[in-house]
């Protein structure tokens, strides 16, 4: 049956003789379908990744062992997962919050840098007594990150400058400022381009054996944002803005103040991630402590559908993947870039799976 020439019919993906595939936009999407599509996409992504790893030389029988048992049931590795999870959850939250008000914050790395710079400035100035030093560093980090995020937010709200480009460009400016400090006034006495080591009172301590305080900060931030988004007036306003800024404006939502303050919040969250990496992993400000977190944050926010609770879970899963990747590197010589590829493949599968939740496919003869 050749129907392709019939006028007026929607011939999307028409195929002669085998009936026809038609595509409709769904009016509503059931949660079951949404979860099913997400699970299917992740399963496909993981299958592709597993095949790639087997091709790269990891025995198929060892994959589950390496990924699950060796990573999550080994105390050292589990601790590493938690240390890695804290900044990933924070950057995921940062992205999720900004996306909720339709602001594409691709400047997470720049805001992390300023978080690290703010915290290090407090450390180098020995500001306040030792007992409150960590709190002072935390606050300084948030202020610095929020201030850096205020630039693209103001440019967008006042002058309509595209934030995708401005936040990306400001990342490079921030990294040059970081290098200017580390190769200049903040250079360590040992001559290397990193800051002086933080003193013991400036390092985020382990709260429990195996659980670093950074993870507690990340969990607290996630819990707070769950409450804010689900229960507060600001959370309701964000939902309006996310659906349609013009309708929100007409309904009396203070759109501009809301967007501006949410972007500052996003910058502060990213900055806390920078503080956590500097203080719990590196113990000082280094040249590259922030690298790779920007895109990871955006991808975590996307996978979590801008939901703070989901962002916390996805952040931990991403951390598991990173640590598993480090083990694969040690035992099988798999380059770390393989982990990046796996993350990218999973996100691509999820992005493509949205098609199935938004559209209904129809096979008509």
């Amino acid at each position: 049956m050749a129907e392709a020439s019939s006028p007026g019919a929607p011939p999307a993906g028409a195929s002669r003789g085998f009936g026809r595939l038609t595509i409709e936009v769904r009016r509503s999407v059931s949660p079951q379908l949404r979860i099913g599509a997400l699970a299917g996409a992740i399963a496909i992504g993981l299958t592709i990744s597993a095949i790639a790893l087997v091709l790269a030389g990891v025995p198929a029988s060892d994959l589950a062992q390496e990924f699950i048992v060796a990573t999550l049931f080994d105390p050292t590795n589990l601790k590493a997962v938690f240390v890695q999870a804290a900044p990933l959850v924070l950057v995921g939250l940062s992205a999720a919050m900004a996306f909720r008000v339709r602001f594409w914050n691709l400047g997470i790395e720049g805001q992390m840098i300023f978080g690290g710079v703010g915290a290090t400035a407090v450390s180098l100035a020995h500001a306040g007594p030792d007992s409150t030093r960590l709190v002072a560093m935390f606050v300084a980090a948030m202020l610095a990150g929020a201030a850096w995020a205020a630039i693209p937010a103001a440019l967008k709200l006042l002058m309509n400058v595209n934030e995708i480009i401005s936040t990306l460009l400001l990342n490079y400016v921030a990294s040059d400022i970081l290098l200017h400090l580390l190769y200049g006034v903040w250079k360590d006495q040992d001559g290397f381009p990193h800051s002086l080591k933080y003193s013991a009172s400036e390092l985020i301590p382990d709260i429990l054996p195996g659980a670093n305080g950074g993870l507690v900060i990340a969990a607290a931030a996630a819990a707070l944002l769950v409450v804010v988004t689900a229960r507060s007036r600001a959370g309701v306003y964000m939902r309006f803005v996310s659906a349609s800024p013009s309708v929100a404006e007409a309904l009396g939502v203070p759109v501009r103040p809301l967007v501006f303050s949410t972007v500052l919040l996003s910058g502060a969250l990213a900055a806390v991630a920078g503080f956590v990496v500097a203080s719990s992993q590196e113990g000082r400000l280094t040249q590259s402590f922030y690298q790779g977190y920007g895109v990871s944050g955006v991808l975590i926010g996307f996978l979590a559908r801008n939901n703070p609770f989901a962002a916390a879970i996805v952040g931990v899963l991403m951390a598991t993947l990173v640590i598993a990747g480090q083990n694969l590197q040690v035992f099988y010589g798999i380059p770390q870039s393989m982990v990046q590829l796996i993350q990218a493949v999973i996100v691509m599968c999820v992005a493509a799976s949205d098609f199935l939740t938004v559209h209904r496919l129809h096979w008509a003869r």
Partner: protein, 312 residues
């Protein structure tokens, strides 16, 4: 002083070429309505595969660069399928493509041992005695073939865009896909072709960096040039010739920094390195203030997936 100007102007073209080619590649895709953030990643694919072709297969440099173009065009199919076929969010799809390409290029370089191996690469076109003419020689006759080809390539792109049926279709799909569809132009096919052709040019930009400028492959060697190309598209308001102007401006700023340092001018070098980014930001602000009431140059359907079933 003259010597300073001559060396500065002679090194500017090779720094401007990747910006110009990358921005024009992005313009092709964006004029068809596909918001394209993939340049940083596709440049890396172009760079690694061109270097690989030269190192492993002893390809002549120009052939290696053609391999880089083809590889970037091939990888861009992933992005194109995501945004055109699966109608994924174009920002997310662009970012994840960059992430994918960074991983893939680093993996390829490591697996095949191409990383950090210098090779002879593409040299200047041998103009013989012309190259020794004072002042003009190094500037006009000291460049490589691809640098001379940039203007013809831009000419072809702008003629195709502005004066041919294919270019009209491409622009129609980017401005008003519903009308283009009603007129019988296939929106998905046109967009696919625009993304692929643009990505080949972006791949050439990357291949130029590894084979002609630096003559080595190192992980993430594009170092943000792709993002500058993305910004240049806005700077140029989607016009290839303005993109060339912006590329030369950026190349000149980048070229002058080491020259000033070598001439003994004491500058905070890392802060000077921020000038291209700040200049782009300044231009974006200027464009949005000065052209606030002017008609927009942005393609009407930029960033919007085309959903035919919603047609009434």
């Amino acid at each position: 002083m003259l010597q300073f100007l001559v060396t500065w102007l002679a090194t500017t073209p090779s720094l401007a070429v990747p910006y110009a080619l990358g921005a024009v590649g992005l313009i092709l895709s964006e004029r068809a309505g596909v918001l394209n953030l993939t340049a940083e990643g596709l440049m890396l694919i172009g760079a690694v595969s061109a270097a690989g072709a030269v190192l492993s297969f002893h390809a002549p440099p120009l052939l290696g660069m053609a391999v880089g173009m083809a590889a970037a065009a091939f990888v861009s199919l992933l992005f194109a399928a995501l945004v055109i076929t699966f109608r994924a969010n174009q920002v997310i799809a662009g970012l994840v493509t960059v992430f994918f390409c960074q991983g893939l290029s680093s993996l390829l370089g490591a697996q095949f041992g191409w990383t950090s191996k210098a090779f002879s690469g593409l040299g200047p076109v041998p103009f013989g005695p012309l190259a020794t003419i004072p002042v003009l020689g190094p500037i006009v006759f000291g460049q490589d073939l691809v640098a001379y080809l940039v203007v013809p390539i831009l000419f072809v792109v702008s003629v195709v865009l502005g004066r041919t049926r294919a270019g009209l279709n491409l622009r129609a799909v980017g401005e008003n896909p519903e009308a283009a569809d009603a007129a019988g132009v296939s929106v998905p096919i046109t967009r696919f072709l625009a993304v692929i052709a643009g990505s080949a040019l972006i791949g050439l930009a990357g291949a130029y960096i590894s084979v002609a400028s630096v003559k080595i492959w190192i992980d993430d060697m594009t170092a943000g040039r792709g993002w500058i190309a993305v910004a240049l598209v806005i700077f140029a308001r989607w016009n290839p010739w303005r993109a060339l102007f912006g590329a030369v401006l950026f190349g000149a700023i980048q070229a002058i920094i080491p020259k000033l340092a070598a001439a003994g001018v004491m500058l905070p070098q890392y802060l000077v390195l921020t000038t291209p980014y700040l200049a782009t930001l300044a231009v974006m602000i200027w464009v949005s203030i000065a052209r606030r009431h002017a008609p927009g140059d942005e393609p009407g359907a930029l960033g919007r997936p085309y959903v035919r079933e919603e047609r009434v």
